[in-house]
């Protein structure tokens, strides 16, 4: 570690002190808004210039990430039409694929109706013979 940034100073406190390593692990999560500092971490930050500098760098990183999202991306001018064409192809394919399904449903319905008619006729004939 270089000497330009001081190590944490120790002072009178009843809370267990945190070291730079353990505080460093939470700096990114706090900068990302996923958690807040605990009292011991705040104590450490109050007395450790290095961790405060690292904290400010994480905040800056988060700002830059948001800015990066806002950076416009130059897109291919044909993209929109390509997406719509892709959807069209799916629509046609679906309609084409649906034909056998419709035909199969109609055939199954016709077969069921024919079966029902045959069954009813046989039942009636049996009843007639019995009488």
């Amino acid at each position: 570690m270089t000497s330009e940034i001081s190590a944490p100073t120790t002072g009178p406190t009843t809370r267990p002190r945190r070291d730079c390593k353990s505080v460093s692990d939470v700096l990114a999560a706090v900068a990302g808004g996923e958690r807040a500092y605990g009292p011991a971490e705040l104590d450490h930050l109050a007395s450790c210039l290095r961790c405060r500098v690292e904290e400010s760098r994480y905040r800056r990183l988060m700002d830059a990430m948001r800015l990066l999202r806002e950076a416009p991306v130059l897109e291919d001018s044909r993209l929109e039409s390509q997406i719509l064409l892709h959807l069209d192809r799916y629509g046609h394919r679906w309609a084409w694929d649906a034909r056998p399904r419709v035909a199969a449903t109609v055939a199954a319905g016709a077969a069921a109706a024919a079966g029902l008619i045959a069954f009813t006729a046989r039942h009636r004939r049996a009843a007639r013979l019995a009488s």
């Binding site: 570690m1 270089t2 330009e4 940034i5 692990d25 990114a28 999560a29 900068a31 990302g32 290095r50 500098v53 690292e54 760098r57 994480y58 800056r60 990183l61 988060m62 700002d63 830059a64 990430m65 948001r66 800015l67 990066l68 999202r69 806002e70 950076a71 416009p72 991306v73 130059l74 897109e75 291919d76 993209l79 929109e80 390509q82 997406i83 719509l84 892709h86 959807l87 799916y90 629509g91």
Partner: protein, 184 residues
């Protein structure tokens, strides 16, 4: 947008086409950031809109339509990248020319941030895909950990660990502390 989504949910193809027109730039930007290649991003976006079209009837409106779409884009990117990983033909450098670096409105702050943004952009691209996807979805697109984990097919804990590693790596690379500067 809400009205368009409702019409699209009831099967109105014209409404869905208008949703495509309104949202495709943002979806493409996310796909590009996740895949790092214009060619892959184009494929991912086409596939994502097809999936969205097939399932828009099930969109419950609990999140914004854009967030729902981001999740689909993330999922398609993961599938696409894993497929590409098997075939192994990366197009590194294709991403270099597509970021528009025009300065924003605050010249003092933005001047410095713009330079930082350039370095960050390069650092994000250099991240391994598994770290890049998590940090892009979380820190750029604000997706919750649970959604990220679900779309990438990993646990929430794994998503948090990857995010932590990605942020640390980016910070060390873009804003290094004394002693962390990369060796020549």
């Amino acid at each position: 947008m809400v009205a368009l989504v409702e019409r699209a949910k009831s099967g109105d193809r014209e409404a869905f086409d208008r949703l495509v027109r309104v949202t495709h730039s943002d979806a493409y930007a996310l796909a590009l950031r996740l895949t790092g290649s214009t060619e892959d991003a184009r494929d991912v976006v086409q596939e994502a809109y097809l999936r969205a079209y097939k399932s828009v009837g099930r969109f419950r409106g609990e999140a914004q339509f854009s967030t729902w779409l981001y999740r689909i884009v993330a999922n398609c990117s993961t599938t696409h990248l894993s497929r590409r990983h098997r075939h192994r033909h990366d197009h590194l450098g294709a991403y270099d020319d597509v970021i528009d670096t025009r300065p924003d409105h605050d010249p003092v702050l933005q001047g410095d941030l713009a330079e930082l943004r350039e370095r960050l952009d390069a650092a994000v691209r250099d991240l391994p895909a598994r770290l890049r996807s998590v940090v892009v979805l979380r820190d750029m697109y604000d997706l919750p950990h649970e959604a990220i984990a679900a779309e990438l097919g990993i646990s929430v804990t794994a998503a948090k660990v990857r995010l932590h590693r990605a942020r640390r790596r980016l910070r060390e690379q873009v804003l290094p502390m004394p002693g962390e500067e990369s060796q020549p």
